[in-house]
């Protein structure tokens, strides 16, 4: 594991001109506009990097994009890896380990999520204040490498209060409707039943998705400051549930992409 991380890091280091400070993960339908904002790009395909998993989801490209945003050196993952694709949690967290080795200190995550808070509407954004992990595995399972972090990483503040405060301020200034709430991570890939939406609501979730939490766990293990924004792509009202098509989700994500980009750009400027 450690060797794989080191080999992938070395491979990348030889190809970039400046070490990144900020890592960005672009979720489903959110991989286009942010990438356009990155200047002086160096693009590396996942499939050329030793030990890097390859995304299997058609709506996710598989590229690392290095460059500058508002004068800061960034590293963006265009296309992420999901547990339902069959990857182990170790594979999913490998890019985050590599980010840390390259010098990343802040991680900005986006995802597409189902909205289970009926006061909100699809197309709106939710800032993750906290999460509930319902996935059946953990990226930190197995031998702990003290070199990265402690055996039992604290989760009292998985999402940086400081980053969240800045994001809320930017949202206010830009007149973006940014909710704050709790994201529950499930394994998928089947979507949820009505009974499952009720269950998730009962235990305190505002949004549900199949990603983000493994990356946050790995990042927090290494003390990277994190924030994450969900685009609410579909309303999951158990009393009025409609069949969901992936294309609708991708389209809704795309229409909200501009707002995510504004928030992340504003935040990067302040880091």
């Amino acid at each position: 594991m450690l060797n794989q991380i080191k080999e992938a890091t070395e491979f990348i280091r030889k190809r970039i001109t400046q070490e990144p400070e900020v890592g960005i993960i672009l979720g489903t339908g959110l991989g286009n506009r942010m990438v356009e904002e990155i200047e002086e790009q160096v693009v590396i395909n996942y499939n050329s990097i030793p030990h890097f998993p390859i995304t299997t989801v058609a709506t996710h490209k598989g590229q690392l994009i290095f460059g500058k945003v508002r004068g800061k050196s960034v590293m963006a993952m265009r296309g992420r890896l999901h547990y339902y694709e069959g990857y182990s949690m170790h594979q999913i967290s490998l890019p985050i380990r590599v980010m840390h080795m390259l010098g990343v200190q802040y991680l900005l995550v986006s995802n597409a999520a189902g909205n289970i808070n009926l006061d909100w509407k699809k197309g709106e954004l939710m800032l993750l204040e906290d999460h509930i992990n319902l996935q059946p595995d953990n990226p930190l399972r197995g031998e702990n490498f003290e070199f990265f972090g402690p055996r039992f990483p604290d989760m009292s503040e998985p999402y940086s209060k400081e980053l969240n405060k800045k994001l809320l301020r930017i949202a206010k200034k830009e007149k973006i409707n940014l909710h704050t709430g709790i994201y529950a991570a499930v394994q998928g890939p089947s979507l949820e039943t009505r009974a499952e939406y009720r269950y998730l609501r009962t235990i305190g979730a505002d949004a549900v998705g199949m990603s983000t939490v493994p990356e946050i766990l790995a990042a927090r293990h290494m003390d990277i400051a994190c924030c994450a924004i969900s685009v609410l792509t579909n309303d999951c009202d158990p009393d009025n549930l409609h069949r969901v098509e992936l294309q609708q989700i991708v389209d809704t994500a795309a229409t909200s992409e501009e707002n995510v980009v504004k928030l992340f750009m504003g935040l990067i400027e302040q880091l």
């Binding site: 394994q187 890939p189 039943t193 069949r243």
Partner: protein, 271 residues
């Protein structure tokens, strides 16, 4: 995976299972009476079918039975596979894939389940309206085969509203008490604690069991309409919980079996 499914399908086709219309999965203690209704049966042992798992539970026989019920060609599984036996969920659901490839158009499932709803009693039946999946794996994890279905199958109606409506009409006409509710699938094989029963009740479950949901997810993935009926084999009252023995569960299932058989035979008549 696909090759294994095709080989098992070809084998069964050559054994004379040529045009099944209805698939039936018979749960714990429910494998006798329905089988007697199948006329001119062709019986194939699981251990003779290439790539088929072998049922390891002693009161589950392991055979496919193909024949006529009320003028319809029916393919029944006498004995199913469970996650707790050590199979992965792709093995557990392989027979459902094979049924679909053989031409099955409706899937009728039964199971024995613990009753969490204080208004109901053991020995009664519950039509599954919806489910909560608490199993630690998903049969669709890994590469998706588009020839079977989409990457993210919708679960807004996992149990066919049309089939459920018919079953309720039949129950009314035959004066069979048929409750309706939510089934939660857990890994097992240990039974639940009092605290777990309270948890399951609080999140919205009416019954709990160790099967059915994997088969239903795969059936939905392939667009195969299904329905499922639970026999309530024990009352799981956390304030008054007694040790359950398996003999008692099988005995209660056996007593309820005539009602279940009647429901399914009458349903098949209408298909």
């Amino acid at each position: 995976m696909i090759r294994e499914i095709k080989e098992a399908t070809d084998f069964l086709y050559k054994r004379g299972i040529e045009v099944p219309e209805v698939g039936v999965i018979l749960g714990t203690g429910l494998g006798n009476l329905f089988v007697k209704e199948i006329k001119k049966p062709i019986v194939v042992n699981y251990n003779s079918i290439p790539h088929f798992p072998i049922s390891t539970v002693e009161y589950h026989k392991g055979q496919l039975i193909y024949g006529d019920v009320k003028g319809k060609k029916v393919l029944a599984m006498q004995g199913r596979f469970h996650y707790y036996e050590g199979y992965n969920l792709q093995q557990v659901t392989l027979p459902v894939r094979v049924m679909k490839l053989l031409g099955v158009q409706h899937l009728l499932i039964s199971n024995a389940a613990g009753n969490l709803n204080p208004d109901w009693k053991k020995g009664q039946l519950m039509l599954i309206d919806d489910h909560i999946n608490l199993l630690p794996d998903n049969p669709l994890r890994g590469e998706n085969y588009e020839i079977f279905g989409p990457r993210f199958p919708d679960m807004s109606e996992p149990y066919s509203a049309a089939l459920n409506k018919k079953l309720k009409q039949i129950a009314k006409a035959k004066k069979i008490k048929l409750n309706e509710g939510v089934y939660t699938a857990v890994a097992g094989p240990n039974l639940e604690t009092r605290a777990e029963y309270r948890f399951l009740r609080r999140i919205g479950s009416d019954t709990v069991g160790m099967s059915t949901v994997p088969e239903v997810i795969v059936a939905n993935h392939m667009g195969l309409p299904c329905c499922a009926v639970s026999v309530l084999t024990d009352d799981c009252d956390p304030d008054n919980l007694k040790p359950v023995n398996l003999k008692e569960i099988v005995k209660v299932a056996g007593k309820a079996e005539p009602k279940l058989t009647q429901l399914y035979v009458e349903l098949i008549k209408t298909l």
